[in-house]
Symmetry: D2
Subunit: 95 residues, 4 copies
C-alpha cells in the first residue's frame, strides 16, 4: 500500500500528523518506507487497514476536522513479492 | 470513498471485474455511484473497507493474478455530509 | 482523467475552489462530469493538462498557499472510448 | 509529483515499462526517487508533465494498448520545498 493522509482545516503544515500516522504504523509492526509523497506499507490486509483506520481516528483527535486520504493498494496471488523486491526488479533492469 | 480497482494480467477489458465489484458493494447495502473512472461509496468505515476487501478476493477468484487499486477516502467530524450534499455544495455555486 | 484538487491552508470548506476549477474546465471546452470525489474529464492530453495547470494557478491566486491534487489518467490506443461508453460497458452487464 | 504508471493488457510483469519511464524522467533532467509504488518527481510543472506525456507515448509504443496512471501532484507558493525537505520535516519530528 502507498498511503498519503492529508488533514484539512489545520493549515499548510501537516508534518505533525504524518509523524503521528507513521508511529501508528510502526507500533502495528508493519514494514514501512517513508517517501516524499506518502508512506509505503507492506503487510496483511487486515493489519494494514486497521492501522489506516487508527491513523484517521488519531488525526481527528489531534484536531483535524477533515481528512482526505489517497491510497494505492496492490495485491497479487501469483507470487509473493516484497516492497524491496518491487524496487529491485526495476533497478536491476536500469542501465 | 472513491474506489478504482484495476485487475492486471487479464487483458484490456476489465468491465467484468468492475461489475462483480459493484454487485458486492450493492449486496453490502452501501450507497454507491458509478462514474467513468471508479465508484463513489458512502458508508461507515468498517462496512466500506470490508466490501473493498471482498472485491479484491472476488476479482482474484475470477482469475486476476494481480490487482492495483486506487482509493480516495474522506472522513470528517465537523459535520455530517453525504455524497450528494458534496456535489450540491459545488453545483449551487456554479453560474 | 479523474481530477481531485485539494487546496490546503484555507479551512475545511473547499467548494469555492472546486467551482473555480470546474469553470476553467468548461471554458476550455472539455467534456466534464462532476461527482462526489472529483471531476471526470474527457479530451486530448494537452488540452486537459493545460486546464489542470490553470486550475492550480487559479486556486493559488484565490488564496490557497498549497494544493495537493490526485489524478487518475487513462489513455488507450486499441479503440476510442468515451467516458459514457466506459460507464455503459459496466451498466449493461449488471443484473 | 508521485507518479504510478500501470500498463494494461501486457500481463502481470510491468517492470520493463517502469524502467522505460524512469529513463525518460532521467533524460528530462528531473530529480526522481523510485519507491515501491511509484516514482517521486521534483521539477517545474511543464517539464514534469511533458515527461509524463512522453512516458505514456513510449509505453504505448512498447506495446501496451491501455495505460492507467495515478498521480499525486503538489504545488505550493508559500515557500520552496524540495522532496528531501518534505521527508526531513517528518523524520526530525520522529522519536
Amino acid at each position: 500500500m502507498d498511503l498519503c493522509v492529508v488533514p484539512i482545516g489545520v493549515g499548510v503544515s501537516v508534518s505533525k500528523y504524518v509523524v503521528a500516522c507513521h508511529e501508528i504504523l510502526k507500533e502495528a509492526g508493519l514494514e514501512t518506507e517513508l517517501h516524499a509523497y506518502g508512506t509505503n506499507i507492506e503487510g496483511e490486509w487486515d493489519e494494514v487497514l486497521a492501522a489506516v483506520k487508527k491513523c484517521h481516528e488519531t488525526i481527528h483527535q489531534l484536531g483535524a476536522p477533515r481528512i482526505t486520504t489517497t491510497i494505492k493498494l496492490g495485491t497479487r496471488i501469483d507470487k509473493p513479492q516484497t516492497m524491496s523486491e518491487k524496487v529491485e526488479s526495476v533497478v536491476k533492469q536500469m542501465k
